[in-house]
Amino acid sequence: MASKKTIIAFAHRGEARAFLSEYSCKPTSFKENLFFKEDLYLLIAGEGIYRAINELSHTIGILQALYSDSPLEIFNFGICGALEKDILIGEVRKIRSIYSTDSVGEPQFKSFTHSSVKRDPQELATTSDIITSHKRILDSNDRETIRNFAPLVDREAWGFAYAADAAGESLKAFKLVSDYADAEVCQVVKEQAREWSESLLETYLSLAPSPEALEAPELPQGLSVLHITLSQKRRLINLLRALELKGIKSDEAFQLCGLQELLRQEKRSKEITKDLIQNLHALVYPLNAALEDRLQKQVAPLKKVGFQVKFDQDLEREILHLGATLSSVDQIQRIQAALGEFDFEQYVRLLRGQDVH
């Protein structure tokens, strides 16, 4: 598998300072606010939600075009304001859910949550939700309104999460609390920029490799001899996963499906794969398989005389669709006989759950 590319998005150069220095990143040739070293990309997006969305979307688009086989991991590191006084200035918080307000300060419905937040007390103590505001929060009324939704506020996180989500990725965000969202803080931030950037870098360096870095699920070794299309692979993985949820591991599943017997058959590899999927399906969904079997047996005489037979798609209605092309008197007579012998009441009993097992 191609190597993972990591994007770390920042709003301001000051936030990125320690990272740029640590990794000796150079500007890319194709985007002046994007810096890189090997597989690491540092984006300085600028302030505000729209810049965050635009710049990160652009960056993801370029990297996906250049490195289509490489998985992406996307971070946002930056500063934020605290809306609760029990959170200390200088603390770095892992972000769990990201909310937002719209341009008139109303909360926006859409939110983004990172599921990797562990629920142990130690991790929870340093985890917070955040709300991204369209404007700087300097007014106490604004502060009171958004405090209802999250204890931290910033200007970009939701935009970064939106861009990541649109590209099918998730965002991991870490924020350093720089103020209490109650005063002009620019000067304070400037003075503390180097120190705070280093705190953020420390946090990044302490992160364990993410589970997403592991390889995507592959099929067990035993199937390597078979010809398997991409869609069949997906189906097999889903079926094996469903069996795992039922407590049946792959090896046992293959045994129960008679994989070895299938492999010994003198059939084309494609057909063996099809049979295997069918057998696994019956193992995952035995009731469905039993019902399907009973229904097929019930309508077999109709199929034998040339009818195309269709059940109600959801099996909710007690109907049977029959289609035929009539081509001879003899055939019509055979059809009449088959219809006369068809036990519709028995068919309905099956659809009512009677005689199924």
Binding site: R96, S97, Y99, P107, Q108, F109, K110, S111, T113, R119, L124, D129, R147, N148, F149, A242, L243, L245, K246, V284, Y285, P286, L287, N288, L291, Q313, D314, L315, E316, L350, L351, R352, G353, Q354, V356, H357
Partner: protein, 337 residues
């Protein structure tokens, strides 16, 4: 349990509000204009209820009583449910609440007088049914557990007093909770039925997270029965598994051994079902759940459930078990089918 309490300003001085505040003296309080200004305004992930659950105290506005869907209760009589709370402290993997509201936060509505007036009004619309000897049913526990937070809400005495004067009506308190303390302080009424949802014990362990185990629920039913409270049972949701018939035989046997059959007012049987939105949430919230390997289909009406032949087979099997163990046909009804 809670991390913050939001209170509608006009309800701050209400006795029940004050008693809740006294129970949680260290929690931050936030006064708001209306619950709707905050609750559900943003999409709060369902599983955040585990460590970041807020409590809202508010007034229910708009529709207070709703007509229940067909097959919600015993056939032949009108059924309604009333809305006294949103969300539940329990965490059942199949729960539809995970796809219903935009937030798992608990909302307690404390304007029971308004709800009571609506109940009386609704009863008056059914004079003809009452003259025919029918009862008008009102169900609690549609969007919440009826008893789990009853020690906070103190609402049970109000509803008991109300229904004491409404002999033509029946109140059903649907629950999984062992929190009987407030209920047991009251005098039983013939027209107030406490009904417990029951499933096989291993099923409860696997899917009814944070709820009392089967044995506890059965003990609660026994306690209520011994004190003269009318009881009922919901075998809901039925989820198919290996040895399903055996597990349900054992369950019904336990019920009969503990409670007998005659004094159980009714047993409803309902098979698990989801809207597609809820099923999507189940996949997201509980990716290891056995429910995701179940034999569901997406149906014409958007619901995700077993195909009809199975549903009817499952329902039929359990009904047969109940009849075999001594329950009568009149006691059993199939829920939502």
């Amino acid at each position: 349990m809670f991390t913050k309490i939001f209170i509608e300003k006009e309800l701050l001085d209400a006795p029940v509000t004050q008693s809740i505040i006294e129970r949680f003296p260290s929690l931050p309080l936030k006064l708001i204009h209306r619950v709707d200004d905050v609750f559900g305004k943003v999409k709060k992930p369902y599983l955040q209820k585990r460590e970041n659950l807020s409590l809202f105290i508010g007034k229910k506005r708009g529709t207070l009583i709703k007509e229940a869907p067909q097959a919600y209760g015993l056939a032949g009589e009108p059924h309604y449910y009333f809305i006294h709370a949103y969300n539940c402290v329990y965490e059942c993997e199949y729960c539809y609440l995970q796809g219903y509201f935009n937030s798992p936060d608990i909302v307690l509505f404390i304007n029971h007088d308004d709800i009571g007036k609506k109940i009386v009004e609704t009863c008056s619309l059914h004079k003809k049914d009452v003259d025919q000897g029918k009862k008008i049913w009102f169900h609690a526990g549609e969007f919440s557990d009826s008893l789990a937070l009853s020690h906070l809400t103190n609402e049970l005495p109000f509803y008991f007093n109300l229904f004491r004067d409404l002999p033509e009506a029946i109140l059903e308190l649907r629950t999984k909770s062992a929190n009987l303390k407030e209920l047991l302080k009251l005098q039983p009424l013939e027209n107030v039925i406490t009904s417990f949802s029951l499933s096989p014990k291993d099923r409860i362990k696997k899917t009814d997270l944070k709820t009392p185990p089967l044995a506890t629920r059965l003990n609660c039913l026994k306690q209520l029965q011994d004190k003269g409270f009318p009881i009922a049972i919901h075998l809901d949701p039925v989820i198919h598994e290996d040895r399903f018939e055996e597990t349900y035989e054992n369950l019904v046997e336990s019920i009969v051994a503990q409670l007998g059959t005659e004094k159980i007012r009714y047993i409803s049987i309902g098979v698990v079902r989801f809207t597609s939105k809820v099923f999507h949430q189940v996949k997201k919230n509980y990716p290891e759940s056995e429910l995701l390997a179940a034999e569901f289909r997406s149906s014409f009406d958007g619901k995700v459930r077993y195909p009809r032949p199975f549903r009817l087979w499952l329902l039929g099997k359990i009904k047969d078990i109940c009849l075999k163990k001594g329950f009568s046909e009149a006691q059993i009804y199939l829920c939502m089918e």
